[in-house]
Amino acid sequence: MTSDDGLFTAAELAELLALARALYPHEALADGPYERTIAKIVSRASAEPALWHVLHDGLAEIHDGGSDLHSALEARVGTPFFESLRALVAWHLYDDHEVWDFIGYPGASFDRGGYLHRGFDDLDWLPEPRVRESTEPFEAIAISEGNN
């Protein structure tokens, strides 16, 4: 399936998806977030000629290498293609709530009463520390002898 506007072929879309996974490999994460990430990038590229150009040229060129995707990407660090794609994949992938669930980040909490009664202090593998300030004197300037 090509993108609706014909700007990306099915092969290119598949390649983008594979690149997104190679950039941010979360083995146990389903394809959904990666697909949504690429859909957002493609949609943006269809409105930004410069981005489409960079992606299109980069996709054409990356086929020539023949090495695995991680090495292919590594060899292109610093190129407009790599930098544009990396930044966009990171931005959208880690804003995807399925990824938040996968990592264990719950997001908004205010409407659930914050964490006041939901474990803000439930860490139990360390002793309870002092929360007040120490009453020991604080030496603001170290008077050093033989200081180098």
């Binding site: 930098e83 980040y105 909490s109 964490y115 439930d122 860490l123 360390l126 002092r130 170290a142």
Partner: protein
């Protein structure tokens, strides 16, 4: 709310509604002055804040173009974002973190305490800790900061338990959950915190102090202050007598208006304040208003900062509770045996997943990066905040090749790290790693600075009119009724988070303005 006429020439115009501008405005209206406050951003009520880092960033941030140049890492990582400041009623304090340590006595006398530091413009302040102490106390009471004046300490959250235990195990003594300007319990008509973890996105509950929930509504309630929102100052005008007589500002459609003024106070944060002074260049002030010293925009400081993350076998969930209610003071002393002058704090920090993935390793990717992301819930964080060296060449200038929506030149922020900054950061990274290793961290990641929240020094205080922009009261040497009322006036940066000190010096400034005005000297 009262409305003033634009021709009312007896008003004080305060530019900026952050901690500096709001504190000044409230003191002035309490003393019977008539005040017009101009805020470049909109009024966003607390209930409209959003528990989402990206949406909130978009809602609250000053996003007009800026440029970062120099050897600092930010110029590489975020070249269009040297700083993170607010464009919203309440200013940057709508998303500040809340720690309120005072500066130390020797930090007001940095030159005397540290001696010559080659390659720096280090100097002593024309103000002492003793003179500021009563104002510090008033500022702490205004905020209701924890651990002070009968306010209880913040309870420990998970992230703090890691920080404090690590601190103790490597021999530190001076750690606590504050002082921190968020209500543990009800204070000043505002509730105790729900520990919802979102304060850098605007605090929906109003438990965290900011001018939006305190100084601004109080000032409006006196009936003497008019707040104009979406009103961005673009020029301060001078009368033929050399006194400031008005402020030109653009409304949200870009249309210009002029408010006449008897007194003008600029509190736009240490990037926009010098920018406005430079934009206000006029006959007799060709290099910028109040810039006969040539110091406007220079000596920009932003603290020595970086983040250290510790990854553990067990769960931490750093995003729960107050993000920065934890501070270790031990390294904030001046101890040249460590190989640098000045000191630094280690402060707790928590981020949601979007920020964590943006800042943990800027530009990071690949399997090592994603393995750190997958350890997010088992990760604790600390933030380094230390004194950086002022340098004349670290400065805010106007960049005519980068224009804002009004066609005005944007601020370019140049910053080269001083060797003292580099030595301090290196020491702090090592101590941060030791701290987390001491409580079992299996992996430690050192992250570079994020766009600066602490911006200081670009209209520095000096009693010598040739060496600074303002005197010890923030009054410009060149224009008697023009004041600077924010962190731009800091002569040096000290190690502490700046907001409390901004408020203290502005409270002192307000007393001075009232005295001067009543004696006819102003």
């Amino acid at each position: 709310m009262i409305r003033y006429e634009r021709d009312d020439a007896d008003v004080a115009v305060v530019i900026g509604s952050g901690p500096g501008g709001s504190t000044l405005a409230l003191q002035l209206v309490r003393e019977g002055f008539r005040v017009v406050m101009l805020e470049a951003g909109p009024w966003i009520p607390n209930e409209d804040f959003v528990n989402d880092e990206r949406i909130a960033f978009d809602q609250l941030t000053w996003k007009d173009p800026r440029r970062a140049t120099g050897t600092w890492q930010l110029a590489k990582d975020f070249p269009g974002s040297p700083a993170w400041t607010g464009k919203v009623v309440g200013g940057t304090a709508t998303f500040w973190t809340g720690l309120t340590p005072r500066f130390k006595s020797h930090e007001f006398e940095a030159h005397r305490s540290y001696g010559e530091v080659p390659g720096s413009s280090i100097a002593d302040w024309p103000v002492t800790l003793e003179e500021l102490s009563p104002y510090y106390e008033r500022a702490e009471r205004a905020m209701g900061t924890s651990h002070r004046h009968g306010r209880p300490p913040m309870p420990a959250n998970n992230n703090y338990k890691v920080l404090a235990n690590g601190a103790q195990r490597i021999g530190y003594e001076h750690f606590a959950t504050g002082p921190y300007a968020t209500n543990v319990e009800e204070y000043d008509g505002r509730p105790g915190t729900l520990r919802d973890g979102f304060c850098q996105q605007g605090d929906k509950s109003t438990a965290k102090w900011s001018p939006l929930v305190s100084e601004i509504p109080k000032a409006i309630a006196t009936g003497l202050m008019e707040l104009r929102t979406n009103a961005q100052a673009v020029q301060i005008t001078l009368g033929s007598d050399g006194r400031a007589d008005g402020v030109v500002y653009a409304d949200e459609n870009g249309a210009l208006h002029r408010q006449r003024a008897a007194i003008v106070a600029v509190a736009g944060n240490a990037i926009e304040t010098p920018r406005l002074l430079l934009l206000s260049a006029t006959a007799g002030h060709e290099d910028g208003l109040a810039n006969s010293s040539g110091q406007v925009g220079r000596n920009y400081m932003r603290h020595v900062t970086g983040v250290v993350y510790g990854e553990f076998e067990n769960e931490v969930h750093m995003y729960r509770g107050e993000p920065m209610a934890g501070i270790v003071n031990d390294e904030s002393r001046h101890d040249p045996r460590r190989g640098f002058s000045g000191g630094y704090y280690l402060e707790m920090i928590a981020q949601g997943l979007p920020s964590f993935t943006t800042f943990m390793t800027p530009g990071g990717w690949g399997p090592e990066f994603t393995s750190k992301v997958e350890a997010y819930t088992r990760t604790a964080g600390l933030w380094i905040c230390g004194e950086d060296m002022p340098r004349e060449t670290n400065r805010v200038t106007l960049d005519g090749s980068l224009l804002d929506r009004l066609g005005l030149p944007s601020p370019s922020v140049h910053y080269d790290d001083h060797p003292n900054d580099v030595a301090m950061l290196d020491h702090a990274y090592r101590q941060g790693e030791k701290l987390f290793r001491a409580v079992g961290a299996t992996r430690v990641t050192k992250a570079p600075a994020m766009p600066s929240g602490h911006n200081m020094g670009t209209a520095r205080m000096s009693e010598d009119a040739a060496a600074g922009v303002v005197n010890g009261f923030g009054q410009t040497h060149d224009v008697p009724n023009l004041f600077v009322s924010d962190g731009s006036v800091f002569t040096t940066g000290a190690a502490a988070n700046p907001t409390l000190t901004i408020m203290a010096i502005v409270l002192r400034q307000a007393d001075y303005i009232v005295r001067q005005a009543r004696s006819g000297a102003l």
